[in-house]
Symmetry: C2
Subunit: 191 residues, 2 copies
DNA sequence: CGCTTTGCATGATGATCATCATCGTAAAAA
DNA sequence: TTTTTACGATGATGATCATCATGCAAAGCG
């Protein structure tokens, strides 16, 4: 090998990382291979020695995005007493900061809509990520039943939907309303 | 004018109608002008005499999609006693049939993710549609408070999120779980 | 120090994209 | 019947797309 043996793997990782950001912020169709590679100081030629096609990159980027979030969240939640974990997670997920940084945020909310139209490999990677999110959510329910009596899948659907709508809507007030009211619905109702 | 005076308006309406279907089922970026026009037996040339640019079509298609749904729902709900309206709406929205026909379904669920990245005109049309949905939802809450104690914006976010995830996920069982559990959460809890 | 290996660059392919300028033609108006 | 008018067809523009075939140059191995 002409570079040290890790080099190819490192470049591959960089491609995936950059793709996972740009896909989330611009959409998967809007990011071209050549443009993406040039972000890393490379040209489009080498791409196909790393991935069979764009679909393979989408799947890898999807996995990477979920893994990264999962890991980051696990760290944050571990530092918080168990009965505050749900509140911490919800507060973070439904914050304006998360709304305004889709590139660094939840893959499900950023790419869920387009995922429904993709091929099997990508959708499988996406599904695995969603399942991991569900497990994490179920794991930090304060007591039996879950978030204000919701199951994990209901809580996830609500969070994803609220974040998605808060991003799509052009009225800042309505945008905030989606975040705030979802937050309230997810937090334990009593003081 | 060479055709009868309604002709141009009719063609315009057909373009919008077709666009609103194809945008929902294929995504707004994936549908090209030339391809869309050829669906109507026309060529790409005349498009720009109907719309300033593609963005204008997106906004119009968005309005059309919401209007159509709003009208169809209003008809269905009017034929149902007030205390069954919420259940009817939820049952319909979270049905596998709706999941499997995005082209004929909710604009918010199909295009919400991509809407966040579009220009102002489209997002304003989208926002107006969302507001109409919220009003309709608030209007068919069975009693004070709303769907199992949810506000309209929470109910909408949950429905949109559940439908979106049920479409994106590749596991049929998980897909159904999103629909069923969201349904349960939205229906009045007591028998 | 030369050989082999291979990651990446170069460039081509053919397709599609949004947009616009031009023009024929068919229908309405006269 | 003749004139007018504008819808929509044709074709060009320049950009970008995913994908692949070829070739260079550098790094590890001998």
């Amino acid at each position: 090998m002409r570079y040290h043996s890790r080099h190819k793997a490192e470049v591959r990782q960089q491609i995936i990382r950059m793709a996972s950001y740009r896909f989330r912020s611009e959409g998967m169709d809007a990011v071209g291979i050549a443009n993406l590679m040039s972000d890393l100081g490379l040209t489009h030629g080498g791409f196909y020695s790393h991935f069979r096609d764009k679909e393979a990159l989408v799947a890898a980027a999807c996995r990477h995005g979920f893994d990264e979030l999962q890991q980051r969240l696990a760290e944050v939640l571990a530092a918080v007493p168990p009965d505050e974990r749900l509140a911490t997670l919800v507060e973070h997920y439904l914050s304006p900061a998360h709304r305004d940084r889709p590139d660094d945020g939840c893959v499900a909310a950023a790419l869920g809509g387009e995922m429904a139209r993709r091929d099997q490999p990508s959708r499988q990677a996406f599904t695995a990520g969603v399942e991991a999110q569900l497990a994490l959510l179920a794991h930090c329910q304060p007591q039996r039943g879950g978030c204000g009596g919701m199951t994990a899948s209901v809580a996830l659907a609500l969070m994803v939907g609220a974040l998605l709508l808060s991003r799509a809507v052009s009225d800042p007030e309505l945008s905030l309303r989606f975040l705030e009211e979802a937050k309230r619905a997810l937090m334990p109702p009593a003081d």
